[in-house]
Subunit: 362 residues, 2 copies
DNA sequence: TTCGTATACG
DNA sequence: CGTATACGAA
């Protein structure tokens, strides 16, 4: 039995907008921690991963894990019948082959109920490698959208290069070739540096739902490298996917995503234990840094341990960038020969896209 | 070697918007005085002439004249990649078959560079007749846009008639026929009359880059005629094109445009010499008249020496009217049986369209 | 300016 | 059929 209420139907609508063009059918995996969706596009070049935390719902109850096999086209149609600010309740029984959606206007004057047939979908539980990326770029989601759309009109693919100069997006086309260089915003860098210096115990916060391992000394090094243009090598952890396609894990291999999730939990606990007294202070500081560096003047924030240079299909990136409606900022995580991670984090969770690079940098 | 920097990429974008639908490929003729473009549409019914003065650029350098053969579609695509307020630098080498465009955000955090292939275009240097028009209508560009669009929905062509009553735009369609009469705005007329009376030496300024010959006595006469409804004939100077198409000059005939330019220079010198002491005063007065008559309350300003009545294809006029984004006001110059001149003047230069009338006033 | 739709084109 | 462009509306 699942029963989950979102205060804004818009969240679901926006999530679906970008996903439905990538995947036709997918399982919404519901469990006590929330709702997850993972799916590959048909060509197995892109992978999308959505998380809605249970505590982001106005009401959430899920007795036992249920996979809800949904045709995303149908769900989109049904969601179109909700107003953006409607309260939206999802219900499904454990054995059920039906998903019920209830939309309620906030003044309770209107209640709409829809039932959607569910389907059985082979649970290609996907192993998402817990990659240690070499570069992270945080930028305005709208700017990312703009860049990939601009380059899309020139050519099919974009080369993304992160160097100490900044991040460069380059595309070659028949009529013209172009590239856009985004420099680390000065204001963002200064704030970032002060942020590091102020508090020796502080670590670079990646994200609310960070993929990476927060090893404090290493993190410090990363920042230093960015400033000193140090090129020394650093070990790769879990860098296991350097091919152009994702591979579905057979189910008995275990759930890759759950593994990631577990390690995240551990990290959070450790962090909390090691510096609990400074917690409140840090939180405040972090918020201010993020709002000024990321949300503020459209600053670009770059962290890098290695020069990276990869080529991707613009078609996918343009598709991903539709999720800009969910968040003001987007994070790009890169490492040579490994899928790019494009991540939008919002109040209730996140949507992450993984895109295999083009091989041979063509 | 050409290197030219515009403070606002929007200027180029807006210029291209209207031109690209008229012409596919055109030469940007660059020389020390600035950048010119002249081209005819495929049917040879319309001609467009663009000028960007070198002193309108933040930086301008052109060692020797270079024609840059540009596919306007490609250039449009590349310009789409610029934000309106980006600083835009154009670069081309003398022998170059490439045009480089650099866009810089004003905070310098983003630098985009594009290279566009150039092409060889037969330089149909066009002879633009140095016509002495019989009527000039200055009006709000937005009003002109509105009128031609409105009439476009009724019929294919518009008859434009300038009489002492004002200027009338009339269209006949199957479902309906309509006409719009714009009277000379009183406020504009008064200011204009005072302006003439105040200073006997003053001449009617046409435009910053006037095509016409400023013959002072004749100009006075024109104003008088407008008031007295005098119908006496006046000789036409250079009225050599009364057919429905423009003719390309072969290159060895000389450059018509340069001729015009030369004669303009002479005129300017003569004017300057004859009344240099009153120059500053005139300038100030001229500015005030222009701002009140043209920019003010949307007044329509009409000067006329002859009753004119011509018919034009609305499709072209609607296209021309897209240049309204470049200037608040538009000037229509008319003379019977001669192409209409539609002129938008802006800070950096102008865009002028010539449109051959429909023959037989159908 | 951004969005959505309509249409023309490949 | 999908894409790209143009136009009108918000």
């Amino acid at each position: 039995m699942l029963e989950a209420t979102l205060n804004e139907a818009a969240t679901l609508k926006r999530l679906l907008d970008a996903v439905k063009e990538l995947v036709q059918d997918a399982n919404f995996e519901c469990n006590e921690s929330g709702i997850n969706l993972q799916a590959m596009d048909n060509s197995h070049v892109a992978l999308v991963s959505v998380k809605l935390h249970s505590d982001g719902f106005a009401l959430y109850r899920c007795d036992r894990p249920i996979p809800l096999g949904v045709n995303l086209g149908s769900l989109t149609k049904v969601l179109k019948c909700a107003k953006d600010d409607d309260k939206c309740t999802l219900k499904a029984t454990d054995d059920g082959d039906v998903l019920s959606l209830k939309y309620e206007a906030h003044n309770a004057d209107r209640v709409a109920e829809y039932d959607m047939k569910l389907m059985d979908i082979d649970a290609d539980t996907l192993g998402i490698p817990d990659t240690e990326y070499d570069a992270r770029v945080t930028m305005l989601a709208s700017e990312f959208t703009r860049i990939v759309r601009d380059l899309m009109s020139l050519g099919e693919s974009v080369r993304i290069e992160v160097s100490k100069e900044g991040v460069r997006f380059a595309s070659d086309g028949e009529a013209a070739q172009g590239n856009i260089l985004l420099k680390q915003t000065d204001a963002a860098r200064e704030r970032y540096e002060n942020y590091g210096k102020d508090d020796e115990d502080e670590e670079v916060k990646e994200d609310d739902d960070d993929d990476e391992k927060p090893k404090k000394t290493k993190k410090k090094e990363k920042v230093k490298k960015e400033e000193d243009a140090d090129d020394e090598d650093e070990e790769m952890a879990n860098g296991e996917d350097d091919e152009a396609e994702f591979h579905a894990k057979s189910e008995d291999e275990g759930e890759g995503e759950e593994e990631v999730s577990d390690s995240e939990k551990k990290k959070r606990k450790r962090t909390a234990a090691s510096s609990s007294k400074a917690k409140a202070k840090k939180k405040a500081k972090k918020a201010s840094v993020e709002s000024s560096a990321e949300g503020g003047a459209g600053g670009v924030h770059i962290e890098m341990t290695q020069h990276v240079n990869l080529t991707f299909s613009l078609k996918y990136l343009v598709n991903f960038s539709k999720s800009a409606s969910l968040s003001d900022t987007v994070q790009l995580m890169l490492k040579n020969d490994v899928p790019l991670l494009v991540s939008y984090t919002f109040g209730q969770g996140y949507i992450r896209y993984y895109l295999a690079p083009k091989i041979g940098d063509d």
